[in-house]
C-alpha cells in the first residue's frame, strides 16, 4: 500500500500536513509531517506534494541493521535517513525525519484532500 500523488490536482491548502502532525503528534505543525507541499507560489503556482513512496529498495536505511518492514511502520525516523533517500521524500525538522507510516493502514491525509491529489494504491 502507498499513497499516489496527482500533482496537478493539488490546491496547496496544507490540510494534509496539518492532519499528519495532529494525528501522529497531537500537535499542529506543518513542518512535522511526513507529507509536505512544495509550492512554487511566486512562479508557476504549481504545488507538489512529496512523501515516502514506500519503495522496496529502502536506500534510506543505508547500512543500518534494522528490519525494513518494521521501520516502515514508524513515523519518527532519524535525520540521516532523509539524506540517503534518493527521492528527497522525507521532511526534516529539529534533528528528526518524518516518515509516512500510512497511519497504520488508514492514511489521514487522503481523507482531507478535497481536490483529489492523494489516492491510496494497494
Amino acid at each position: 500500500m502507498r499513497i499516489k500523488v496527482d500533482e496537478a490536482q493539488c490546491s496547496g491548502c496544507h490540510l494534509c500536513e496539518m492532519v499528519c502532525s495532529l494525528f501522529h503528534l497531537g500537535t499542529m505543525n506543518t513542518e512535522k509531517a511526513a507529507i509536505r507541499i512544495h509550492k512554487d507560489d511566486l512562479g508557476t503556482s504549481l504545488n507538489t506534494p512529496v512523501l515516502c513512496r514506500q519503495c522496496k529498495e529502502m536506500k534510506c536505511l543505508h547500512g543500518e541493521k534494522v528490519i525494513g518492514a518494521q521501520e516502515r511502520k514508524k513515523f519518527l525516523w532519524k535525520k540521516t535517513r532523509a539524506e540517503y533517500c534518493p527521492f528527497h521524500a522525507l521532511s526534516v525538522l529539529g534533528g528528526k525525519a518524518f516518515h509516512c507510516d500510512l497511519c497504520g493502514g488508514k492514511p489521514q491525509c487522503v481523507k482531507v484532500c478535497t481536490p483529489g491529489a492523494l489516492h491510496i494504491v494497494k
Binding site: S11, C13, M28, L46, N47, T114
Partner: protein
C-alpha cells in the same frame, strides 16, 4: 495552546520592538483577528488622527484559529484609513496569517515612521528590522522573491506594498502571494507612510491543541458535511466568477458607474465559463478545503505570457462591467497590473468609473484626463492604472480617491457613488434592499463584506428565515421588510467569523446549512480549550461591531451618514430585469430604525449607554 501566541509592538521611529502575551481576558472579549485589532486601534483612534502620520498604528491580526483546522485561515489588517478618513480594515487570505501563527505571534502593532525604507523579519518569535533601500520601487511579486533570496529561505511568506503604497495612493493594498490582498481602505498607503516595504515571516513552532483526537474527529465531520453542499462544490469548480452571472441575470451589477445594472447576453463574455480557456487549475488559501481560486495563463494575443492567480468576481466587475469593458483578457491583465503595483482593484475600478462618467457628461475633458476616457476603452484603463500607481498626470488626481472631489468640483460629487467617503463596488443595490442597507451601515464605508446577507437571494421560506434571524424577514429579494434584522444579524456574525479567522464562503454566508456559531463554538473549545456558548460568541460579535461604531462616532458619524449614493434614491433602474427599482426614503428609514433598535443604538445611530455597559465598552 492558541493562548500562547503573542503580540509584538514595533516602533519604527524609535527602532524598538516589544513582545507581550495576549491577555486571556482580551481573548474572551474579542477572540482575535479583527476583534482584537479593533480593541488595539481604539486605544489610538481620534477624529484628528492623521491616517498618514506616525501616530496612526498599522495593526496585523490573525484570527483565533488561523493556522489550525477550521473553516479557512484568514487575518485582518486594521488602521485609520487614508482612503476614507475613517475606520480602515481589510481581511486577507493566503498563507501569511498562518505563518505568523507558526512563528508564535498573532498580532503586530506597528507605530512610528522609519526615516529610510525598511522591512520587518519575523522568525519563530524573533523580530528584526532590516534595510529595504534596494526593495523600494519593486512591485509586490518581485519584492517577495527578492526577500526570499536575501533571507535564503523560500518558505518565508511576505506581506508587502508595491509602488502604489510607496507613492501613498490612497487606495493601495498590502499584498502577499500572487494575488492575496488586504485590498480595501488603503492599508498599503499607511504602510508606505511608515516607509515599511514588507513584513516577512517564517515559523516552525508547534501549535498546541487542547483535545487533539476529538478535535480531529469533529473537524472531519464538519468538513465532510461542508463538502456535500452544492455551493462549496460550485466554488471549487468555478470560483467567485460564478457570482457574476447571477448578478447580471438579476440586475444588480454596476454597469457604467451604475447608470445600468445588467449587460444582458453580453455578460457571457465575462462569466465563469469564459475564464475556462485561461484557467489552469484551482488553488486554496492555507487550510481551506474549497479551493476557489483560479490559476491562469494567457497563451496568445495582446497579453500573451501573462500568468498568475485570479481574477475574482470583484475584479471582473470593477475593472470590467463597471467600466463597460467586456474584454476579459484586458480585465485579467488590468487585475494583474493592480496586484503588481499594489492597488485595490475594487476602488481603482470605482474611481476610474467616476472619471469616465464625468468624461461622458463633458464635465472633464482631455485637457484634464490626458487621454479620452471612453467606456470600454481597455487601453485607457491600463494607462490610468499605470498613472494612478505612479501618480502621473490625471492619475495623480485619481490617486486621491474620494478626496479628489475637492479637485474635480462640486458637480462631480453626484457621480462618485460613495458612502462615508468610500466608493461602492462592482454591484448596484437598488434591487436587493438588504444589500443596500448593509452598504449604508458598514463600519468601513461602502462595503459588502461587512454584512452581505447573500442568503437573501435564495428566497428561503419565511419560517426558515425566522428561525435563522429570530424574527420576521420577507423572503422577497426586493422587499425591505425585516431586512434591517437580516443585516444586523450578518454584521454580528461576520465580525465573529473574522475574529476567529474563518472565510465567508465556508460559513452561513453561502448556505443555510453551512457552519455558524454552534460549529465555531465547538471547534474553538476543542482546539484552544477556551469555551464560549454560541450566545456568548454572538455577544462578542456585538461588542466588536459596536466598538467599530464607536470609532465612527468619534468622527461625528451618525444616521445622516448611514445612507446611500443619491443616484440610488433619485434614479430608478432604467432597464433590464430590475427595471424601475429605486430606494424609497420611507422604506430605507424603516429598515434603519429596525436595524438601530436591534443593535441597541439610538434613533440617530449612536450606541446607547446601557448597551455599552452590557458589552463592557463603557470604560
Amino acid at each position: 495552546m492558541a493562548l500562547k501566541r503573542k503580540i509584538a509592538f514595533i516602533d519604527l521611529s524609535k527602532n524598538s520592538i516589544e513582545i507581550a502575551p495576549v491577555p486571556v481576558d482580551l481573548r474572551r472579549k474579542f477572540l482575535g483577528g479583527r476583534g482584537i485589532n479593533m480593541y488595539l486601534l481604539s486605544k489610538f483612534y481620534s477624529s484628528d488622527l492623521d491616517p498618514l502620520s506616525a501616530e496612526n498604528p498599522l495593526i496585523f491580526g490573525t484570527g483565533l484559529l488561523s493556522g489550525m483546522l477550521g473553516f479557512g485561515s484568514r487575518m485582518n489588517i486594521t488602521s485609520k484609513s487614508p482612503e476614507s478618513g475613517h475606520l480602515g480594515d481589510s481581511n486577507m487570505g493566503g498563507d501569511f496569517g498562518a505563518e505568523l501563527v507558526k512563528a508564535g505571534l498573532s498580532h503586530l502593532v506597528i507605530e512610528g515612521k522609519s526615516p529610510t525604507p525598511v522591512y520587518l523579519v519575523i522568525r519563530n518569535g524573533g523580530l528584526e528590522i532590516r534595510d529595504a533601500e534596494k526593495l523600494w520601487g519593486q512591485d509586490t511579486v518581485e519584492t517577495q522573491k527578492l526577500i526570499r533570496q536575501e533571507l535564503a529561505d523560500e518558505k518565508y511568506h511576505v506581506a508587502c506594498i508595491g509602488p502604489a503604497g510607496e507613492n501613498l495612493v490612497r487606495f493601495s493594498a498590502i499584498r502577499t502571494g500572487m494575488k492575496n490582498a488586504a485590498g480595501r481602505t488603503g492599508m498599503g498607503a499607511v504602510m508606505g507612510s511608515k516607509k515599511l516595504k514588507a513584513v516577512a515571516v517564517r515559523g516552525t513552532l508547534d501549535i498546541a491543541v487542547s483535545d487533539p483526537k476529538t478535535y480531529f474527529r469533529y473537524y472531519l465531520k464538519t468538513l465532510n458535511k461542508l463538502m456535500e453542499t452544492k455551493w462549496v462544490q460550485a466554488l471549487g469548480r468555478y470560483g467567485t466568477p460564478l457570482l457574476f452571472q447571477y448578478a447580471n441575470a438579476m440586475g444588480f451589477l454596476s454597469i457604467r458607474n451604475n447608470q445600468f445594472t445588467t449587460i444582458g447576453d453580453q455578460g457571457y463574455a465575462l462569466e465563469a465559463e469564459a475564464l475556462e480557456p485561461f484557467a489552469t487549475g484551482m488553488l486554496s488559501c492555507f487550510g481551506c478545503p474549497a479551493h476557489c481560486r483560479h490559476r491562469f495563463s494567457i497563451e496568445e494575443g495582446r497579453f500573451k505570457g501573462t500568468k498568475g492567480e485570479g481574477p475574482e468576481y470583484a475584479s471582473i466587475g470593477s475593472l470590467g462591467s463597471k467600466l463597460g469593458n467586456l474584454d476579459l483578457q484586458n480585465i485579467i491583465y488590468a487585475t494583474e497590473l493592480c496586484n503588481r503595483y499594489g492597488l485595490d482593484t475594487i476602488s481603482a475600478g470605482s474611481y476610474i468609473a467616476w472619471a469616465m462618467e464625468l468624461f461622458q457628461r463633458g464635465m472633464i475633458n482631455q485637457d484634464t484626463t490626458d487621454v479620452p476616457l471612453r467606456w470600454g476603452d481597455g487601453e485607457a484603463i491600463l494607462r490610468l492604472i499605470h498613472d494612478i500607481a505612479g501618480r502621473k498626470g490625471f492619475g495623480d488626481i485619481l490617486a486621491e480617491g474620494a478626496f479628489a472631489k475637492k479637485i474635480l468640483g462640486e458637480a462631480s460629487k453626484y457621480y462618485l457613488l460613495d458612502i462615508k467617503n468610500f466608493p461602492i463596488e462592482m454591484t448596484d443595490e437598488r434591487l436587493p434592499k438588504s444589500f443596500a442597507l448593509g452598504m449604508a451601515t458598514s463600519t468601513r464605508g461602502a462595503c459588502h463584506m461587512r454584512s452581505r446577507p447573500s442568503l437573501d437571494v435564495l428566497s428561503l421560506p419565511e419560517e426558515v428565515l425566522k428561525k435563522i434571524y429570530g424574527g420576521p424577514v420577507s423572503s422577497r429579494f426586493s422587499s425591505h421588510v425585516g431586512k434591517g434584522r437580516m443585516v444586523w444579524w450578518h454584521e454580528i456574525f461576520n465580525a465573529v467569523s473574522d475574529a476567529v479567522g474563518f472565510c465567508r464562503f465556508l460559513t452561513i454566508f453561502s448556505s443555510p446549512h453551512a457552519p455558524q456559531y454552534q460549529q465555531f463554538s465547538r471547534l474553538i473549545a476543542l482546539s484552544t480549550g477556551l469555551t464560549f456558548t454560541p450566545k456568548e460568541l454572538k455577544t462578542i460579535g456585538e461588542r466588536i461591531y459596536t466598538l467599530e461604531r464607536m470609532l465612527l462616532v468619534k468622527d461625528g458619524i451618525s444616521r445622516k451618514d448611514d445612507t446611500l449614493p443619491k443616484r440610488y434614491f433619485e434614479e430608478a433602474i432604467p432597464e433590464g430585469p430590475a427595471q424601475g427599482e429605486v430606494i424609497s426614503h420611507k422604506e430605507f428609514d424603516e429598515m434603519l430604525d429596525e436595524y438601530y433598535r436591534l443593535h441597541g443604538w439610538d434613533e440617530d445611530g449612536i450606541p446607547e449607554k446601557k448597551n455599552l455597559k452590557r458589552l463592557g465598552l463603557d470604560e
